[in-house]
Amino acid sequence: MSEVLIPSTKTIADITQEVWSSVLEDAGELLLEAEISAKPTIAVLAFIEINGNWHGSVRISSSVRIAKHIAAGMFGKSASEVQDDELSDAVGEFTNIVGGNIKALFPAPCNLSLPGVAGIGSFKDDLPPGLEGKLEESLVAEAHLIWQGEPLIVGLWENKQ
């Protein structure tokens, strides 16, 4: 099998920006940030697996405020009205769409899993519940985006085993 080309950070950022603009009402601007000097504390993490001619996962982590903005934009309500189940549903679907568009860049056949929301809570260094089995994956590309000063990080993790 020929070597698979990994999507660039810019491509991942572009896809995320397109999904953000398309599915959120009143999305506001999401900017690509070149560097995040210190790894921020992330409160919501969702992931989706890609399996086929490439194996790995797309993981999207963000602050609760961004996650609520995503849910509010998808449900067409204000962030203060967003319930926990709606937040999980919306962030999972957002990840599904971003992951699906990233999956399309890999050579077929590749399958997409259902999305999972691994953690809603505050964690910084430890993997949240739901990602314990993914220790063997390594980060191959990561887009750092910011919205109103808060981070949204889209990571592409490869499983070479």
């Binding site: 999904v19 398309s22 998808m74 549903d89 599904n96 699906g100």
Partner: protein
Amino acid sequence: MKVLVVDDSKAMRMIVTRSLRQIGIADLVLEEAGTGMEAIKVVEGFTPDLILADWNMPGMTGYELFLELKAMGYNGQYGFITTEASEEMKVKAAEAGASCFVTKPFTPEILTKALDGMI
């Protein structure tokens, strides 16, 4: 026009129904289902003119739902709104008789174009 939207994500059902309202379909009546099994129950009483379903859903996929509904005698329009945009899936959907295949994310304009001739 009676339209059934099937997606396991409530947020995505909301986006699809919002888009359908935005594109101004005449006499639009909407129903939603979160699973394939739920969709089958809705179809029995609702008889939609068009079903728009996600492909990748837990339990029964949108493709399996389509085959099941056809076996039950459903003969309305059926389309996919999905992140699964591979050529293989598009061909599979077309061969099964799907009327349209829309890739997420989409805009109301893209949806209008995809539904051309059906609405």
